[in-house]
Symmetry: C2
Subunit: 288 residues, 2 copies
DNA sequence: CCGACTTTGTGCAAACGTTCACAAGGGCGT
DNA sequence: ACGCCCTTGTGAACGTTTGCACAAAGTCGG
């Protein structure tokens, strides 16, 4: 895989971390433009975007030298340059598969199309939903995936179906020609090379927050007892859901074990095991 | 081996990147447990989680030595250990502020409470919404933030109000004692030290996808790589609106930033702008 | 026209994260 | 009981990202 791109507008390898921040800068820039501010320094823009100013300058330097020393950056011009780099100077038709709670919220979301993204199709498999109108969009059947994607030359798809159906929908989207997928279902999608998957996973975010919250609680607790690291191995603390630690009997590989998993079953989606033992390449999204 | 975790929120003993992956492993582990699989190797678990096996082993090694050489990891035991590390052995009451499209979708989301997160309050400012019931939760007024947070000892809050109201809601949550915030509004929240903010930003994800999609289009057009499915996708359309490369004079006003992007009003303004007066010092929160 | 002042763009080093490769360690068959 | 074989745990190499510090480059007042 060649890393260098020498075509056209000189898009050298821009770090992924930088790409992930460009939308942040863009948003801050639009906010400035709304306030009729014509130029901005790296310090100010960085503050508005919540990043370090040196980082911002380095990020922008990857796009080219678009600033003026001693002055700063021209807001409008920078908006244009960043937009161009991100590919926002063109419209991106998007298909949403799954017209449930989340899919409808997305379809209704104005911010969705504020940057050139346009929902052109909303699909579902439920006959009770097909034919209804959501945010001005007629919900159509999933069977039309291929036709819709082809007709509108769609490259970006959002998956908002239950986890059990997500891989199947993903495969169909990819088969139809979609190369970028925004996945809201809590599973790891397998996709062929050349397809990007980014996931939005609320549950993961909450768990990360819980980790830090726990740490803060523990820190606040003056009692230094049980400071993080391992209690002991054979500890027998049965927890409400997680089952018992290391029961004496460990079946040889692959044997059926007690199960006893999660009495508090995963509500909602419940991964009813789709392709878990994958042979295909697991879909690492770009960065996280 | 492992270092001591200082009892403070400054010195995490476990890398942030690892923390972000633990929920992924946990999900894969639950899926295995559901299938009554008692033990799993790092290779298998890594495949299920979509990561490199060496990375997985290193991640898990931060929690302690919970594997058995030559065999693998005991699924139930590892579920317990990871859960404990993430702080999921306790229940986390959560408050959602903003009972709009997204807030309601969240409240309805079963996966929300599948890992010990429990929505205990749903707040809004709209009188038309207050008093209604969403997913079994009575929507209450925002004025009750402080009371609700205090009453339930809430540490985690989700913000699903319009961007304009988000900072205010954030301040109130923090003032009431919330230390972890999941923000869905497209703004950078400023919070005092010790408060974690994680953002879920759909628009940013789409823009990142657009960047890669654009790159793929460009590549397909020039090089003869990738013979598969993109034959003539993505025509290059020159949209020149906002960008004027550095007009010679300090043209305070010239081109008004025109509709490069959708209908999002990009005010060009007419004031020979002063620079922005930083009124918001954005504080970045945890990772990414 | 000049000099002082401001801010960009970047070399560099440190911090952080990923991946390789392999020794240490433990189960399992014989 | 013993050695084979499998997998973990980890040292070390490598790549990426961050942040500092400063020279270069431009503006602005006089
Ligand atoms: N609601 C949330 O706040 C939330 C948060 C995080 C993640 N998620 C995830 O997003 C996904 C959707 O969540 P939701 O709350 O909207 O669920 P939902 O049940 O409200 O909606 C799912 C929709 O998908 C449709 N569907 C099912 N199988 C389909 C198929 N094979 N093809 C096409 N459509 C199909 C259903 O008819 C339904 O309309 C789930 O995977 C969920 O885990 C939801
Ligand atoms: N809907 C989506 O798919 C989506 C996607 C990404 C981001 N977002 C963001 O999430 C937020 C909510 O989106 P939404 O689609 O649910 O919007 P919405 O308009 O449907 O809901 C917003 C809710 O917040 C309430 N509200 C307004 N001001 C309030 C205040 N001061 N205190 C308490 N409640 C208040 C409103 O009454 C309304 O019920 C927005 O910031 C939006 O940008 C939404």
């Amino acid at each position: 895989m060649s890393r260098r791109t020498r075509s056209g507008s000189a898009a050298p390898g821009i770090p992924e971390a930088t790409i992930a921040r460009l939308p942040l800068y863009l948003r801050a820039l639009y906010a400035l433009a709304d306030r009729c501010i014509a130029s901005v320094s790296s310090e100010e823009l960085a503050a508005a975007a919540g990043v370090n100013s040196a980082k911002l300058r380095k990020d922008l330097s990857h796009l080219g030298s678009y600033g003026t020393r001693g002055v700063g950056y021209d807001v409008d011009y920078l908006i244009y340059q960043v937009s161009r780099e991100l590919g926002l100077t063109q419209d991106w038709p998007v298909v949403i598969v799954g017209a449930g709670n989340l899919g409808r919220a997305l379809a209704n979301y104005g911010g969705f199309l504020s940057r050139g993204f346009r929902v052109v199709a909303l699909l579902d498999s439920d006959c009770a939903v097909i034919g209804t109108t959501v945010a001005g969009h007629l919900v159509r059947g999933v069977t039309e995936i291929e036709r819709v994607v082809d007709e509108h030359k769609i490259m970006i798809g959002a998956i908002t179906v239950p986890a059990a159906a997500a891989q199947d929908i993903c495969d169909r989207l990819v088969g139809a020609g979609v190369t970028s997928i925004l996945n809201f279902a809590p599973i790891v999608l397998s996709v062929p090379d050349g397809v990007d998957v980014r996931k939005v996973d609320l549950s993961i975010e909450l768990q990360i927050l819980a980790f830090h919250a726990q740490r803060k609680s523990a820190a606040g607790r003056a009692g230094s007892e049980l400071t993080s690291l391992d209690a002991r191995r054979g500890e027998e603390r049965a927890i409400v859901a997680a089952g018992r630690p290391r029961s004496g009997r460990t079946g040889p590989r692959g044997t059926v074990a007690g199960g006893t998993v999660a009495g508090d079953t995963v509500a909602g989606g419940t991964v009813a095991g789709s392709t878990v033992a994958g042979d295909t390449v697991a879909a690492e999204a770009v960065g996280t």
